[in-house]
Amino acid sequence: MHNLSTVIRFEIVRTLKKKSFWAIALGFPLMFGIIFGIIFLSNQSTSDAAAKLEKQQFSVEVTDNSGLVRPEVLKAVSAATVTDRETGRAHVTAGSVDAYFYYPHDLTKNKIEIYAKNVGLFDNGRYDAVARALLSSSVQTDMPADVLAVVKGSVTTSTTTFRDGKEFDPMKQMIFPGVFLVLFYLLIAFFGNQMLTSTTEEKENRVIEMILTTIEARTLIIGKILSLIALAFIQGVIVVLPALIGYILLHDKLSLPSIDLSSLPVDWVRISVSAAIFAISFLLFTGLLVAIGASVPTAKEAGGFIGLVMMLLFGPLYAASLFISTPDSPFVIGMSLFPFTAPIPLLLRNAVGNLQPWEIATSLIILTVSAAAVMAIAVRLFRYGALEYSRKLSILEIFRRRG
């Protein structure tokens, strides 16, 4: 126990001292901050530019063959009317007027024609906006408010669905169990490489003999895994905390939607199942990554395997729609029960609520047995592959050794 806590403290402290940890930890929220900042500034400048355009005054002449544009609307923008297109166009080319709009007889078949003085790529858009605005303002004048709402598509709906006689919102139901799916993805994505290389360092630095004669290999591996979990938690806090503070401080300023967690349904059974799948799957993949790391001589060679593990793990995401729409298909059941592809299908299906009780029981047993076996292999590979400084080890070779 003393050694386990020593290993955990050592691994956590030295990782926290690494610049790369902070680069990743702070880089993630920073990147999101920058993206949101750019979007906000871009929206702000677009809306400022649009407002500026609206205020810009320019002289305009109009020919309305459609009969839809109302004279009072034209008067409001000081637009004059001309009888034919050629005259209007000639006024523009002569520079006596800034723009000319020609509304054809049948707007369903013909385009509104705009002739205008060039004011730049972006600012030329003002002519199109005003031409459309003249038309829509004219049409909407006599329209009742409800009809206008329908035409504008601003009518809203409210849906209430029921299951077993009780209100049931599948979208809200999947939020809490679904958190584990996101968490699993982030953990493996952030720490996969670190898990893979966590044991190669001892080999590469030739410290392995001193380590193995000072501490049990099992204690060292468990200590490393627990420290990775603790670091993942620290990283989670680093990612979530700024977002939370930002939300609280800027909620009103940025008109962010209010989140009422108390309105979300809490299904403790599904949340517990997700938590169990998450924890066991995490151990399974940590063991797998550590085992791969222990069987190769250098971190560089270990790095080559990360893509393979990621493909195995996250490949099933491409079949996500199948996991939701056809949960009874042999493919979906097979992917859910095979331990190395199971985490994503199981977490996703549990989140949407189509995982059967027998599947939960079977998959949890399979995952637990697999995680224990992989962990045992990882420890053995580390223990007996320790002095293989220059070559890869096969699992068969390790188990052929007695003891």
Binding site: E209, M210, L212, I215
Partner: protein
């Protein structure tokens, strides 16, 4: 004196190559024992099998009557032939880490580390990353870790490798101090002058078998009073002669 290490009928084979062949010997508690032989004679293999890093093909290697385990009763200090530590960590962090793994409290580990660093005149390097130190300085740190916690059993595999004469003397002094407080010391080496100076008993290995075993005086007597250096040349000389005749 009772035996602290007992090796019985030990055999070791890698693939089809038999490195150690039915080897038996004892090491007594409190003595300094020399494990001698040329490169590839099986010295390091014996140590690794004794410490459970290798699984023996046959026989038994016991420390205090049991196969070695980290949680066993004997406090071990081991300086392996393959040297290395965590290169990116500070000297004091590495020393304290190993000190704590050996059962010292954090304060004890810090105190012992600083005391050793002062002794080897590296106290100003305590907070430096290990890879900022020279090779010889790194060797000293590794030696410091080995002797930390006053081990009862000190196994030093090629301890003077990479040491200059000044540091070699420092190492010898440290070994003598541990001898004086009753530690059992095993030295794996082919530096015969060190053996003559420090060792009570020796075993001389060739082709995985003992060619000589006993006190230094007994071995010298067996080889007509020659120095250990001459004995070494006599035992391995024919090997070199064979190589030379093969080249001719």
């Amino acid at each position: 004196m009772d035996s602290i290490i007992s090796i019985k009928n030990f055999s070791m084979q890698f693939g089809k190559t038999r490195v150690i062949d039915d080897l038996s010997f004892d090491i007594m508690r409190g003595e300094t024992f020399g494990l001698l032989g040329s490169n590839g004679s099986g010295k390091t293999t014996i140590i690794r099998a004794l410490l459970g890093i290798y699984i023996p093909t046959g026989g038994a290697l016991l420390i205090d009557g049991k196969p070695y385990s980290v949680s066993g009763s004997v406090k071990l200090g081991y300086l392996p032939e393959e040297r290395g530590l965590y290169k990116k960590e500070s000297v004091i962090d590495i020393m304290m880490y190993f000190g704590q793994l050996k059962g010292l409290s954090r304060d004890e580990a810090r105190a012992q580390s600083m005391s050793y660093l002062q002794r080897v005149k590296l106290e100003d390097k305590a907070k430096l990353r290990l890879d900022k130190l020279s090779g010889g300085q790194q060797q000293k740190i590794q030696l410091g870790i080995t002797v930390m916690g006053n081990p009862e059993l000190l196994i030093l595999d090629e301890p003077t490798k990479g040491f200059d004469p000044v540091n070699r003397r420092l190492l010898m002094n440290i070994i003598e101090e541990h001898q004086a407080r009753g530690a059992t010391v095993i030295m794996v080496t082919h530096q015969m002058e060190e053996v003559e100076r420090l060792c009570d008993r020796i075993i001389l290995l060739k082709d995985g078998k003992a060619r000589a075993y006993g006190t230094v005086a007994e071995v010298r007597q067996k080889f007509k009073g020659h120095s250990l250096n001459d004995i070494f040349l006599e035992v391995y000389g024919d090997e070199n002669d064979e190589e030379e005749s093969n080249h001719a």
